[in-house]
Symmetry: C2
Subunit: 175 residues, 2 copies
């Protein structure tokens, strides 16, 4: 159960409101742990209840906006969790199951869907590479930057892998 700790991580990087967190989850930390705004608001309430974060009505911004920030107890909890042992989640990839199904029952029109996924992964790869370009500019070799760069390179490699697999599968599906 990592959503609370993904939130603590994001708030440690920078304090912010629920909607700001939702936006970050759409474009950066969410690449590793996705969450919708409903999950985020529910979990922020629990984190505050637990005494790991606190909130103040935001002086800027509209509506009932609240600014959250991590409390020392929250940083301690995050530190504890980082060292915790947890096995990788069981894998679940519907596209792989579809390939295996088409192998079992014969041609069933998978090629179109495969091309669509190929395009999705190509788009994500392009996005990650644009991050890479932007970040190399502000280079630095702090431990923090190095770790973040490992994550980015991992994301790039994952997309390249998905693209290669899709291309290979397509070659067979189309023949």
């Amino acid at each position: 159960m990592s959503l609370p700790h993904a939130l603590l991580t994001s708030l440690s990087e920078r304090a912010g409101s629920g909607s700001e967190l939702a936006r970050r989850f759409d474009k950066s930390i969410g690449f590793f742990w996705a969450a919708t705004h409903q999950q985020i608001y529910r979990e922020l309430a629990r984190l505050e209840q637990a005494g790991w974060i606190e909130s103040l009505p935001a002086e800027t911004g509209r509506g009932r906006k609240r600014a959250y920030r991590v409390l020392p107890a929250g940083t301690e909890e995050l530190r504890r969790w980082v060292a915790e042992g947890e096995d990788p989640r069981p894998q679940r990839d519907a596209l792989m199951v579809r390939i295996r199904a088409e192998a079992a029952i014969g041609p069933a029109g998978l090629a179109d869907e495969m091309r669509r996924h190929l395009a999705l992964h190509e788009a994500k790869l392009a996005l990650y590479k644009s991050f890479e370009q932007r970040d190399v500019a502000g280079e630095s070799d702090s431990r923090e930057r190095k770790l973040q760069y490992v994550l980015l390179k991992g994301g790039i490699a994952q997309e390249e892998l998905a693209i290669n697999m899709a291309r290979e599968a397509l070659r067979i599906l189309e023949s």
Copy 2:
């Protein structure tokens, strides 16, 4: 929601009982779509209710064992599902979040856990490679075999990627 179709796929490859399916999910199709025996029994009941599979008391084996097999309507449903459009699931990888957390709050003892994951991925890679060796022996270039081989190579590449990432992260964590 792909569990029913993973079951239809596995039963299309070979008919069998719930416990046999549970074992297959532990060692082959479960690499792409994991499931526990509770999920499997629940879902088999639904599939039979829907008229996609049928069951007979198994003549061999002990207890209340039942043999399931796919009905024509089940094969049709599977064929329909294969061509269906569905986006990849949002990614959720706790280890990546841990790296990002350690980047944000400083050293927190992640190296041990990283080494443990490295060993898990190395073991899985060795397993996949043993499959590869076994399967190359019984080579054939049917469409079915080619598609299955794409899946196996994909699994191998995923493990190699995870191993490379873990090694790179370790190099930074240990320095």
